[in-house]
């Protein structure tokens, strides 16, 4: 479907307007990410490049301290991939609804679908196991809305905060946002243990070169959660 026809489509518009209900929260979040990028010392040009191409708030925030400390590229990429692993899991959900599209369109639309898109989508289409007509257009409408709000607010954050001296330490806003994200991901006991193990390992292994402490901490936390799952299973208690 041509883009111009798409913008007139009923499902596309519905998807966009459902998403705009979350506009203010999304805009605030984009603004903070914009501020954090510039204030981490990335500069205006690279901050804009990051916002427009990476387009994944929590991975962007997590990469900033690593970029600033001169961590090697592959460590930064691997850490970002771990932060983004949830998207890989979400994508198997999207596959049910978008699997009929040609591959290229699937991938382009998939790239544009963030956490909030799936939440809102599943509210509008509660049956997670079937594909229904209009779902791809609904998803595209939501994607367009999130992209626009995010990029405008992020750009505003980048430009406004470039006027603030780095010595004010406003980059700490990025760290505080990550703290909030981490708390929101703490659910069951396994998550708590994983977080504690990860924090302890990241601090204890800080002296490792190449910022490898991050990857060590992730591996330790995943290992801990696997061990917990084994010992928690009834009838299969560890000796």
């Amino acid at each position: 479907m041509h883009l111009r026809d798409l913008s007139r489509d009923r499902h596309f518009r519905h998807g966009a307007s459902d998403m705009l209900a979350f506009g203010p929260g999304l805009a605030a979040w984009g603004l903070v990410t914009g501020v954090a990028m510039t204030q981490s010392g990335l500069g205006v040009g690279l901050s804009i490049l990051m916002s427009v191409t990476v387009y994944a708030g929590s991975a962007q925030l997590a990469s900033l301290p690593l970029l600033a400390s001169g961590a090697p590229m592959w460590v930064i990429w691997a850490s970002a991939f771990c932060v983004n692993l949830r998207f890989a899991i979400f994508s198997s959900q999207w596959r049910v609804h978008l699997g009929h599209l040609p591959r290229r369109r699937r991938l382009v639309l998939g790239y544009l679908l963030a956490d909030l898109n799936l939440v809102v989508f599943q509210k509008a289409w509660p049956n997670r196991d079937v594909h229904e007509t209009g779902q791809a257009r609904y998803a595209a409408g939501g994607a367009a809305a999130v992209w626009t709000v995010w990029q405008v607010s992020s750009l505003a954050g980048i430009l406004l905060s470039s006027l603030v001296p780095l010595s004010w330490g406003l980059g700490f806003a990025g760290t505080l946002s990550m703290l909030g994200i981490a708390y929101s991901l703490l659910g069951d006991r396994t998550a708590w243990i994983a977080a504690i193990v990860s924090a302890a390992a990241a601090v204890a292994a800080f002296a490792l070169p190449l910022k490898l402490n991050i990857l060590v901490a992730i591996a330790a936390a995943v290992a801990a959660s696997v061990v917990m799952a084994r010992t928690d299973r009834p009838g299969e208690r560890a000796p």
């Binding site: 387009y55 970029l67 596959r95 991938l107 936390a221």
Partner: protein
């Protein structure tokens, strides 16, 4: 490989390559199960194991940013990051979210950091 590249490129170009690589990471992760023509699924055990990875990654990056300075645990209470993180935590316990705790933390951080130099 990375170190030779770092030596060969000016800082902004190195940053740009890193950022474009991060964009590829976004494409790969969001399109993970959209790539194949066939219907692939992650084995349940692997999916459960990887469930904590995003939380672990965010905590791994955040904890040293709050608790450490020059590669050591913070040894003084005169560091604006500690009270700010405590304020954000307390706010989260009262009203969960991302923005509220952030503003609560900054409200303490900015005056302590800029005013008192903590």
């Amino acid at each position: 490989m990375t170190s030779t590249l770092a030596a060969a490129l000016p800082g902004w170009a190195y940053g740009a390559v890193t950022i474009l690589g991060l964009a590829v990471v976004t494409v790969l992760s969001r399109g993970f199960f959209l790539w194949s023509k066939r219907d692939l699924r992650l084995p349940g055990a692997l999916q459960r194991a990887l469930q904590v990875a995003p939380l672990a990654a965010i905590v791994a990056v955040t904890a040293p940013e709050i608790l450490m300075t020059h590669g050591e645990l913070i040894g003084t209470w005169r560091d604006a990051r500690l009270p700010a993180a405590l304020a954000a935590t307390a706010f989260y316990a009262w009203r969960p979210g991302v923005l509220g705790p952030l503003l609560a933390g900054l409200a303490l951080y900015m005056p302590l950091h800029i005013g008192l130099g903590w």
